[in-house]
Symmetry: C2
Subunit: 306 residues, 2 copies
């Protein structure tokens, strides 16, 4: 999977992933109105609105970017209906040739992580049948439980040609409370980076592994250190845009081959029409605003990498 | 919520939670056959079987224990249908007077954790409506992202009278890879325990907080140390039974008031009929075997606590 992702990044010349994290307030009023008129202000109503909204964005940006990253929490909050919209979004994005990174941040004891791995990347056994479930291409994984919790995902990556991104240094303000602590002379994020290297050894494709890492754009110096510790790891970089990360901050997340990182933007793209810069599009043209925001982001990163 | 849980523990004289973690291999053949005959070997088929299986166990043990802990991964692996069985299980358990601890181990950056908190413990806003979603009573939370990731759950606990259990020291073999590391002169699990105290301050009810902690039965010495660091924290203790924890290991997880811990057993109860000790029940009477296993567990803990 990692080769496919790297190829798509190069083909589209865009180390960019669009975060499909629909909040109710991002969705244009006319889309919500239509859905609420049909289904009421219900979980089904909002879920229909989310899917319509997502489709518009996906149609507008699918030729520009290699991948999307739906944040499952934004769907899970609307229950079963929301998760149906998640699954429909995953399938729709795949039908448009996009690689789908499920931002699920699952992680548990071994046997339980195996179930999560199956749910998101594998096939589940029912009687004599093997059935794909949410079937994303890649997923994010929480490493708090250690190797037990991550290994089942790696095993599924190997069997099904999928990939994961392990949380190493997250983009949020309080990530340092645990991740920046120093133990055995190194930061927790460095320790986790070494585990990422180890977990990734068994699922290498050429220069990169199917075990990637999450490192927030909001900590560029940490990104630089982690880039060196994990030379064969694709880094998924959240925190660009709305969370404060800028193009210039991103340079050190990349390897000298110009690869090695993929930058996520969510709100900055999917709700572009609500920002001053793209307000002139109006909500009817929210998807065009998203497209313009992707093009601007591409330029920002490109000029930073020059 | 914590007061309600403690009252139920005392009323039923059982600091026990039954882990509803249905694996296909645990479900009696006759239940699976009926479901597969009706719905095929499909996600719907297995999900119907899971719900029937759960109902049998819940009916057999609901007068004996205060709480159940469905592990959502075991349902999520069967997709939307599986999650419908999860939701039906939550509702059924609540209708039987049981407190439901959703073992979801969610945790993310602030705004995303807020969505997870709403999904599992709160109500989601849709237009002008506020709608409960999965609506468990309590949930487990992963602290890798620090205060940002946990605080939204605490806020919902406060608003909705719910509770959480934060992962501190998990029961799995590799939990020490991160959790046992020493930073600033203390183990990571001690550091997290101090955070649990802090996060819990704002949601105290009498002697206990609505912010509890997860500490595995498989590490009794760690349990003893953590009991002292977190005197006002209810400890949810997984790892009893199938994972190797024994009654005698549990003593130090309790406070001197005889409270302070609730012990989980999953496989040892829900698949009791498959173990040698309860094989005589036969699969038709799997639920009676589960009841007998709960009674034996109660005795084991009681004699250890004497």
């Amino acid at each position: 999977m990692i080769t496919k992702l790297l190829n798509e990044i190069q083909k589209k010349d865009a180390p960019i992933v669009v975060g499909l994290d629909p909040m109710e307030k991002f969705i244009p009023t006319y889309i919500k109105k239509k859905a609420y008129d049909e289904y009421g202000q219900t979980l089904k109503g909002i879920s229909e609105a989310i899917y319509e909204y997502n489709k518009g964005i996906v149609d507008a940006v699918c030729d520009l970017v290699p991948a999307v990253k739906p944040q499952i929490a934004m769907y899970e909050q609307f229950g079963i209906e929301g998760l149906m919209a998640y699954k429909k979004t995953v399938d729709y994005c795949k039908s448009k040739g996009l690689i789908v990174i499920g931002d699920v941040k699952r992680g548990d004891i071994g046997s339980t992580s195996a179930s999560y791995a199956v749910a998101h990347l594998g096939k589940v056994k029912v009687g004599d049948e093997l059935i794909p479930v949410f079937d994303e291409d890649m997923a994010t994984v929480n490493p708090y439980l250690g190797t037990d919790g991550v290994k089942p995902f790696v095993d599924v990556c190997k069997a099904e040609d999928k990939g994961i991104f392990v949380l190493v240094k997250t983009s949020n303000p309080s990530s340092g409370e645990l991740q920046d602590k120093i133990c055995d002379g190194k930061h927790v994020y460095e320790l986790m980076a070494e585990y990422v290297n180890k977990w990734g050894e068994d699922v290498m494709e050429g220069n990169y592994s199917n075990v990637g890492a999450v490192v927030g754009a909001t900590y560029p110096e940490v990104g630089k250190a982690l880039r060196e510790i994990m030379p064969k790891t694709l880094i998924l970089v959240p925190g660009y845009g709305a969370q404060g990360g800028k193009g210039a901050d991103l340079v050190h997340f990349f390897n000298k081959d110009g690869l090695g990182a993929i930058i996520n933007s969510s709100r900055g793209i999917i709700a572009a029409y609500q920002s001053e810069a793209y307000a002139s599009y109006g909500e009817e043209n929210y998807a065009d605003a998203s497209r313009a925001a992707v093009i601007a982001m591409k330029e920002d990163i490109k000029s930073a990498l020059k």
